[in-house]
Symmetry: C2
Subunit: 232 residues, 2 copies
DNA sequence: CGCAAAGCAAGAGCACTGCTCTCGAATTTG
DNA sequence: CAAATTCGAGAGCAGTGCTCTTGCTTTGCG
């Protein structure tokens, strides 16, 4: 039954994996532009048309790679967060930042695939969202934990948020912990944006000839953002 | 002389412009992926090989479009900065931010071309740098002007910078005004990164279903960054 | 003015791409 | 065992970037 089903299905699952692996390999070499279905098939010793039994189109293959990339990054980020759990809130935030940057540096083309320009004219399918939100959720979770522990420093400046932002942060808070104040969500979003803004700028060359190498600026700003959130 | 030279050269310049215009039009519709030399040539009523007299390759056409995009954005940003000159330092910063966001929203594919993933495996040629630095320079100039006017609020936190960062900020300051303190350059770079991080996240869909529409978050964070720099 | 030199568009052609369709062979299911 | 499904192979279509050769036009110099 399950063994008989695996006969074909297992071969299918394995080939699907091999296709993605080979595609990832090509991606790392030539980027999303250079990803050729025919080349993938050639490398796997099959003919190009056979590949369409596994992925209906090039875009579908890319979507699969996008989901995998989001998941791979989130796996590492969550693991780093857990590993730093006992070292304090600021250490968790620093661990997440370092992990994001290291992963992006190690897999620049995969990073570009998910955080760079959307590749064709296609919309990111719903399936990518769940994986994409894991990193910002991990960041917000630090803010929540610090808030619940009463460890957050008093913010410098607390004007009331505009109504739209109050609604949006409340809806976000509902996913993390309902009692997080809106201001804290906003500060988390700023830190999240700053983190990926830095990694993107560094990877895409905007810091060239000025803040490159960006290690010092990165570490300094990570601490700045921890201050902004109010982490001890 | 100059009139005879224009006979051919003017035709050449005009055709070069028409090619770029048509390419920009295609870019706006189908993105960088969909930019086809053959389609551009077809639309202009010429044969594809003739196009190679004007641009040696597709990448060279893209590079030309990149430089134009940087310049177009910088033109608008500098104009907005000048227009807000009398309204104060914070108003200048806000004007720049609004202009960047508006331009990016109006020209998403051109924005993606310059601030998204580097398109092929190609390095941004030196020629792009001059145009690319105009926006960050405009931002740093606000910090410089506010500093020289003695209008900056005292920063919250002033640990000495690490040596690498001191060197880098000193080298940047040399292009703006030598007496700007390193901390101020760093804060300007944070604000600059945040600005483009927000625009990129918004345009590429990372705020979808959470901070979208991002108007309120954007305006709020712009003010937050003005606070960070210390603008009155 | 006339003629060589340079600039130009056109066309054919190469090697490649994503994708479709059909056809036999293998495998799973009833 | 037979029917139904799944699969790989191959041919083929329309399109791509890019090269090279062939003539024509414009330019600049003697």
């Amino acid at each position: 039954m399950s063994a008989s089903r695996t006969a074909r299905e297992r071969a299918r699952a394995e080939l699907t994996r091999e296709i993605k692996d080979e595609a990832r390999r090509q991606l790392a070499v030539s980027g999303a532009q250079g990803l050729s279905l025919r080349a993938v098939a050639r490398e796997l010793g099959m003919v190009s048309s056979a590949l369409y039994r596994y992925f209906a189109s090039r875009d579908e293959l890319l979507t699969a790679l996008i989901i995998d990339a989001y998941s791979a990054l989130a796996d590492e980020v969550e693991a780093a967060d857990r590993a730093a759990a006992t070292a304090g809130f600021r250490a968790r935030w620093q661990a997440i930042c370092r992990t994001v940057r290291a992963w992006a540096t190690a897999h620049p083309h995969e990073y570009a695939l998910v955080y760079g320009s959307p590749v064709p004219g296609y919309e990111a399918p719903e399936a990518t969202i769940a994986s994409a939100t894991r990193v910002p959720i991990a960041i917000m979770a630090i803010a929540r934990d610090a808030h619940e522990a009463g460890a957050l420093a008093a913010p410098a400046h607390e004007d009331p948020l505009p109504p739209v932002l109050t609604d949006q942060t409340a809806r976000i808070a509902a996913f993390i912990a309902p009692d997080i104040p809106g201001h804290l969500i906003v500060r988390g979003a700023v830190a999240w944006t700053q983190l990926f803004g830095m990694v993107t700028f560094e990877l895409f060359g905007q810091y060239a000839n000025a803040l490159d190498p960006a290690d010092a600026f990165f570490d300094h700003t990570v601490d700045r953002m921890a201050d902004l959130i109010g982490l001890p």
